[in-house]
Symmetry: C2
Subunit: 141 residues, 2 copies
């Protein structure tokens, strides 16, 4: 194969795991806005569900963020530039850039990738790691 | 609001940007397997399209990876544990854990989050940053 698939080896630092996101108990800082964080070692993916007419108010933070819309749509505000984002749309939010989002008549499902993990979600994500994750079965066949 | 939306301030390190993933010219290490990387400062999200009957062979790397299936399905192999992953399914791949994926009769779209950015895609991602991204319009109203 190519070099992309043929790097050297190393020692795994943890077992791999499959995660059932729907099994994660959501955090709801704002009514209608559900957060289901999945935590790696250095990266957090936060699965977010917006009910219709729900707002994540304009805010900023030191963590880098990449937004990926999975389903539905919302109005995203990024440093004053407001656009409708739909399934497959992506936004990159560098540290401290103000951003917010709101749904109108539709729901929206999206994932926020945070790096480093967003501090305000770390406790919840760590608690849910075992609840939502199923480690790979590497026992004897 | 809550503390989640009311942290202190700081100086943005770069402009925010909206990214049209479909405008990114894909890298194809294997026929039928298209990579469209979107790069932040510390994080890479790589949008991957599998045609039917296409394989990303078993491999391992030092970068942490989180896999999110966006559409379709594929068979994922994670440290010997093979499962069918469909839209919304997630897997966490710690550093050096062997993994691979293959489609059967269907296509699959998924996103791989790499941290740190996957070295073998860095050059392409940097080249495509301007092509695929549209910085926010923060000019005078």
């Amino acid at each position: 194969m190519t070099s992309h698939f043929s790097e050297g080896g190393g020692t795994p630092t943890a077992p791999g795991r499959y995660v059932d996101v729907n099994a994660i108990e959501p955090v709801e800082f704002v009514p209608g806005l559900e957060f289901r964080p999945v935590l790696g070692e250095r990266t957090m993916t936060n699965f977010v569900h917006f009910e219709p007419h729900t707002e994540a108010p304009l805010h900023q933070h030191e963590e880098e963020q990449i937004v990926i819309v999975l389903d539905g749509e919302f109005e995203f505000e990024l440093d004053g530039d407001v656009r409708t984002m739909k399934k497959g749309d992506v936004a990159v939010v560098p540290p401290w850039v103000p951003h917010g989002a709101r749904t109108k008549d539709t729901r929206c499902d999206e994932v926020d990738v945070f790096n480093p993990p967003r501090k305000t979600l770390l406790g919840h994500a760590a608690a849910q790691r075992s609840a939502g994750g199923t480690p790979t079965d590497t026992g004897p066949a």
